[in-house]
């Protein structure tokens, strides 16, 4: 039994070592994705192109515009002479938002608490017209609503103390890359692990190797275990690449022990590989197996908590997310990498992945028939 599993392992490793393209992908996918997500994707919107309708043209209005630009949230690219023109510009997609300052700006400013020191007759000093179709843009502009006007008023207002003080643990600078790197671990492993094994059995069938293989004494479970084992190593290579590159390039801390993250990764790699094997026993061609991999990959990215918080999703979406190994790993990796949790703190997710792996292996072995009919 062990000899036959070993035979399959050696065969797979030899084939893998000759497949330069796949070999390159193993290294390049994590690096490229890490760069993309780390540098390009940023949920804190900055320098949005904006327009200006300034009907007052007072020194105050110019100071106000400068103060708004100083926040770096918007860059004023254009000026328009009326609100109607500004609306048309937003429709054309020229700008994302327009600041409208009316002719009565100075009167409004004078009544504003920053100047008057009291808020009895206060009204907003200007208006933002926003392209609300992108919710990130809209909420970023909304954050300007409470922009302090102290600089324009030339004095510091003795404002009310905030209702709550917020202490941010684990990511005090609020850098999104800190949250993305451990999550990316889950996404990249899902992509590569499921993809590799989903093609594993189908490829043998397509290339005609299967007809010979099934006339030999190799048992389905032996074949499955032999196919998975080499890719566990591949998975660990990728985990190492992502975590060390994340640490070196983006200064992402690894607070929990290496042993904890290794154990969690091991569980997830095995779960993903068996998921791929199950796909491989269903798919008839390599193209089909790729399609099914994408079918698994998309919810793994969107529902697992990688992009949007799991807790904010409706119940039905949470059920689907619970069925995906990526969700459980996302929880574990963020907890271990960022919050110094131990695997023992995350027993539910760990046990779930062990169960998933065993079930997957069983299903794949049962579905894999040593027959052609």
């Amino acid at each position: 039994m062990l000899r036959r599993i070993w035979a399959v392992v050696v065969k797979e490793l030899r084939q893998l070592s000759r497949d330069r393209m796949t070999f390159g992908m193993i290294v390049m996918i994590p690096l490229v994705q890490l760069m993309l997500f780390g540098y390009a994707i940023n949920t804190d919107a900055r320098h949005l192109p904006a327009g200006l309708v300034n009907l007052s043209d007072s020194s105050y209005s110019r100071a106000l515009v400068q103060a708004v630009e100083a926040t770096q949230v918007v860059d004023f690219k254009r000026s328009y002479s009326s609100a109607a023109q500004a609306e048309a510009a937003i429709t054309r997609g020229e700008v994302k938002a327009v600041l409208y300052l009316g002719a009565d700006l100075d009167e409004r400013l004078v009544r504003h608490p920053a100047f008057a020191g009291q808020a009895y007759f206060a009204e907003p000093v200007g208006q933002w017209l926003v392209d609300g179709s992108d919710t990130v843009v809209a909420s970023t502009i909304r954050s300007l609503r409470q922009m302090p006007l102290d600089d324009i008023a030339g004095r510091v207002l003795k404002s009310n103390p905030p209702s709550f003080e917020v202490v941010q643990y684990f990511n005090p600078e609020q850098r999104s890359v800190v949250n993305i790197v451990p999550g990316l671990l889950g996404v990249i492993l899902t992509m590569t692990m499921v993809m590799f094994t989903s093609a594993a059995i189908v490829r043998e069938r397509e290339q005609g190797n299967m007809e010979f293989l099934i006339t030999t004494p190799v048992r389905p479970l032996e074949l499955m275990l032999g196919k998975i084992t080499p890719y566990v190593l591949v998975g660990f290579v990728q985990v190492t690449i992502i975590l060390s590159a994340g640490h070196l390039l983006f200064d992402v801390p690894i607070r929990g022990g290496i042993d904890s993250i290794a154990l969690a990764a091991m569980l997830f790699i095995c779960a993903s590989l068996t998921l791929g094997l199950v796909i491989s026993t269903i798919a008839k061609t390599q193209l089909q197996s790729m399609q099914m991999t994408v079918f698994i990959l998309l919810p793994s990215i969107l529902l697992s908590g990688f992009m949007f918080p799991y807790e904010a999703m409706p119940a039905a979406a949470q059920w689907i997310a619970e069925a995906l190994p990526a969700t459980h790993f996302m929880r574990m990796s963020r907890a271990i990498v960022l919050r110094d949790a131990q695997v023992s703190d995350l027993q539910f997710d760990a046990l779930w992945m062990i169960g998933f792996t065993c079930l997957g292996l069983l299903v794949a072995s049962l579905r894999f028939s040593k027959r052609l009919d």
Binding site: R3, R4, W6, A7, V10, K11, R14, Q15, R18, D19, Q207, G208, N209, M210, E211, F212, L213, I214, T215, T216, P217, V218, K370, R371, L372, D373
Partner: protein
């Protein structure tokens, strides 16, 4: 059940979507012989072999292979049978040695035994010096020898070869058949499917298959002796026109041109085929000749199976094109 038979089937039938790919096939193949399935593509050769190796279950009928009943004893039989598939089924991106090592380990040979056996096979099948060559980069003949080495690595008692020489040149085919007779002499029973007449003629026993039905069964000599037609060769000019006019006569089973002669099969119900034929050939020369296996095939299948001359084995140049 007779212990002298390696394969015995009764009424073996396999249907695909209501169409019988193999219909009521009765076989009794003696141990230690080479038995051939002869027929055109799609006649049920591969389907029969797949049923006999346990890869396909029969729709109906009884199968006994090496005394074991199929379906049911597949796993037990795996170590006792060898199977060389029609398409090369080893790994293109593994070397000769790596492929054989893989097969040896799958069959449970330990390191020592596997090393010895591989060295033996490499010598036997003329692969010395190619141990490190990738299987995918080898010629058709080399691939086929490697496949035979892999299929016989575990010393099977019964060997199935599905169109083993379709991608091989004539010289390599001769060599290959020598190896088969070596194996046979060591006691291996071999079942080989082919669409080449010259190959079929080498078999001890032979079944002619057409559309899943067995049309004839026996040794090549028996089949030729018992053929229900006589063979007359016509030589002369303008044989194409003559062929067309002869074929309109229902007593003429087939007429095929071979160089400057026309080989005509006449129903055996005609007493004297030479005298009967001479008024129809306008003074061309007539000779009665010994039947060949091709004539048997044409008679058995009533000339209905459209075999091209290349497939029938005369134009050997074209053969390699039928690789897959």
């Amino acid at each position: 059940m007779n212990a002298a038979f390696a394969i015995e089937t009764h009424g073996m039938t396999r249907a695909f979507g209501g169409v019988n790919a193999v219909e009521n096939l009765d076989l009794a193949i003696s141990k230690g012989t080479i038995y051939g399935f002869l027929g055109p593509n799609g006649c049920g050769k591969s389907t029969s072999i797949r049923m006999l190796t346990g890869l396909l279950s029969p729709t109906s009928g009884d199968i006994r292979v090496l005394g074991e009943t199929l379906p049911g004893a597949e796993e037990k039989l795996r170590r006792r049978i060898g199977y060389m598939t029609q398409k090369f089924s080893l790994y293109d991106n593994l070397s000769v040695r790596e492929n054989l090592e893989f097969v040896a380990q799958i069959y449970g040979l330990n390191r020592r035994a596997s090393k010895l056996r591989i060295a033996e096979l490499v010598t036997l099948y003329d692969l010395v010096g190619r141990e490190k060559q990738m299987a995918g980069s080898m010629s058709g003949g080399q691939k086929q020898r490697l496949a035979l080495a892999a299929a016989t690595l575990h010393h099977p008692e019964l060997l199935f070869l599905d169109e083993p020489t379709s991608a091989v040149d004539p010289e390599n085919r001769r060599e290959f058949w020598e190896r088969l007779f070596d194996l046979c002499a060591q006691g291996t029973t071999i079942l080989v499917s082919t669409h080449y007449m010259d190959e079929a003629e080498r078999c001890h026993g032979l079944a002619i298959l057409e559309k899943g039905i067995k049309r004839a069964d026996g040794s090549p000599q028996q089949l030729m002796a018992a053929m229900g037609a006589r063979v007359v060769e016509v030589s002369g000019d303008d044989l194409r026109t003559l062929k067309q006019s002869l074929l309109s006569d229902p007593n003429i089973l087939s007429a095929a041109q071979i160089g400057s002669r026309l080989r005509v099969l006449v129903q055996s119900s005609i007493e004297d085929p030479l005298a009967w034929l001479s008024p129809q050939v306008a003074g061309r020369a007539l000779t009665e000749v010994r039947p060949s296996l091709e004539d048997v095939f044409v008679t058995c299948t009533g000339g209905r199976a459209q075999l091209s001359p290349a497939i029938l084995g005369h134009v050997v140049q074209g053969e390699a094109k039928h690789a897959t």
